[in-house]
C-alpha cells in the first residue's frame, strides 16, 4: 500500500468517525414542514427521546398545538420554528389552533435500548 493510498484511507476513516458521532446523538430527530396549510409529513414515527422541529414556510402564521395539551407552540410566523422532545411512547395528535382543519400526528415508539 503506497503512502498516498494509506493517507486517503486514513482520511476516509476520519471522515466516517466524524460523520457518525454527531449523528448518533440525534439519530431520531426530525423536521415537519408546514407548507400550503399542510403538515408534511402529516404522520411521522420517531423513537422516544427524539426531537421534532416544525418549520412554517407559509406567509400566514400557524401553531403546533397538541390535541391533548402535551405541547403548544406560540404562533409561528414565516420561517419560525418550534421544537418538542418526545420522551414517552404514544400517539400525539396535533393541529393548528388558527386553522384547525390542519392536523398531524407524531407516533412515538419505545426506545429499544440502543442509542
Amino acid at each position: 500500500m503506497n503512502r498516498a493510498r494509506r493517507r486517503a484511507l486514513g482520511a476516509l476513516a476520519g471522515f466516517v468517525t466524524f460523520a457518525v458521532i454527531p449523528r448518533a446523538s440525534r439519530a431520531h430527530d426530525t423536521e415537519v414542514q408546514i407548507d400550503n396549510f399542510v403538515f408534511n409529513p402529516q404522520q411521522i414515527t420517531v423513537t422516544a427521546g427524539a426531537t421534532v422541529t416544525w418549520v412554517n414556510h407559509d406567509d400566514i402564521p400557524h401553531t403546533v398545538t397538541s390535541q391533548t395539551g402535551v405541547f403548544r407552540s406560540k404562533a409561528l410566523d414565516t420561517d419560525d420554528k418550534f421544537s418538542f422532545t418526545f420522551a414517552t411512547a404514544g400517539s400525539y395528535p396535533y393541529f393548528c389552533a388558527l386553522h384547525p382543519h390542519m392536523t398531524g400526528t407524531i407516533v412515538v415508539e419505545a426506545n429499544s435500548g440502543k442509542s
Binding site: F37, I60, P61, A75, P100, H101
Partner: protein
Amino acid sequence: MTTHNHDDVPSRRKVLECMTWAGTGVLWTISGGVPRSLGIIDEAQAAESKGFTFLQISDSHVGFDKPANPNAKGTLEEAIARIKAIPAKPAFMIHTGDITHLSKQSEFDDAEHIISQAMLDVHYVPGEHDIIDPEIKIYKERYGRGTKGAGYYSFDANGVHFLGLVNVANLKGGGLGSLGDEQLKWIEDDLKGKSASTPIVVFAHIPLWTVYPTWGWGTEDGERALSLMKRFGSVTVLNGHIHQVMQKVEGNVTFHTARSTAFPQPAPGTAPSPGPMRVEDAKLRMMLGTASITFKQGEQRLAIVDTPLQS
C-alpha cells in the same frame, strides 16, 4: 351581470349569477325577506342616501408585510380615507376581525390609530389573528369590555338588532370555526322577546355557513345559530375571513362576506391553499375594499354595496 326586474323573485340561478360577479359593486335589497339584486353602484349610492347605513371593514391584518401586500397598513389607510370621503356619514362601522396579523400590541395600536380617523364608532369581533395570545388578553382589554366569552355581544340601532359573534376561539383539531354551547345559549336568550319583524344582523369573522370545509371556511355549529333565527323575517349574516366577496341567499337569510383591506385570497379550490394570493400590483386594489349596508325603515329593505379600493 343581470339587473333583475324588481317585481320578480330571482331564481336561484340568477342569484348564483350575481354571486359569481364581484366587480365594482352590487346592490342587494330585501323585500319581505326575498333578496333582489337591483343594480350596481350608482343606484346603490342613490339608495344609500335615504336609509340607515353602516359600514363593514374586515381583515385589515395590520402587521402583514409579505409579497401579497408589503404595506397592509397603507391599504387600510386608503380604505379609511375612502370611508371619510363618503358624503352621507354612515351611522357606525363594524369590523369583522383579523384587525392585526399577529395580535401584537403595536399592531393593535397602529390599527386603532388608522381606523379612528374615520371618526365613527366601531363594533369589533375578533378573527383568529387577533387572539393568538393564549388568554385572549390583548383583544379583550381593547375591545372586549362588557362582552361575554371571547368577545360576543349584541346591540340595537335604528330598530335593527345586531349580534357580534365569536367563532374563532377554542377551536378543535380537525374542526371548523365554532361558536360553542355557551354562546349558542346566549344567542337564544338574547333573541327571546324580540318581535319577528325585527331585522337581525349577525356578524362574525369566519363565515357562518359552509363555504369550503377543505380550507376550514365554515362554522361547524353555524347552522344551530341560524336555526335560532328562523322566525325572523330578515336575517343578514356578515362575515370576513375569506378575503373575497361571496353571497348566498337561503329563505330569509342573506349571507355576505366582505373583501379584506390587506390582501386577496383565492376562490375556493382554485389554489393549493387559502394563503395570500399574489396579484399584479395594478390589480391589488381592485381586490381589496369595504362594504356598506343600508336599511330602509318601513320598507324592510336592505342593501349591501361592496366597494373596492380602486375600480
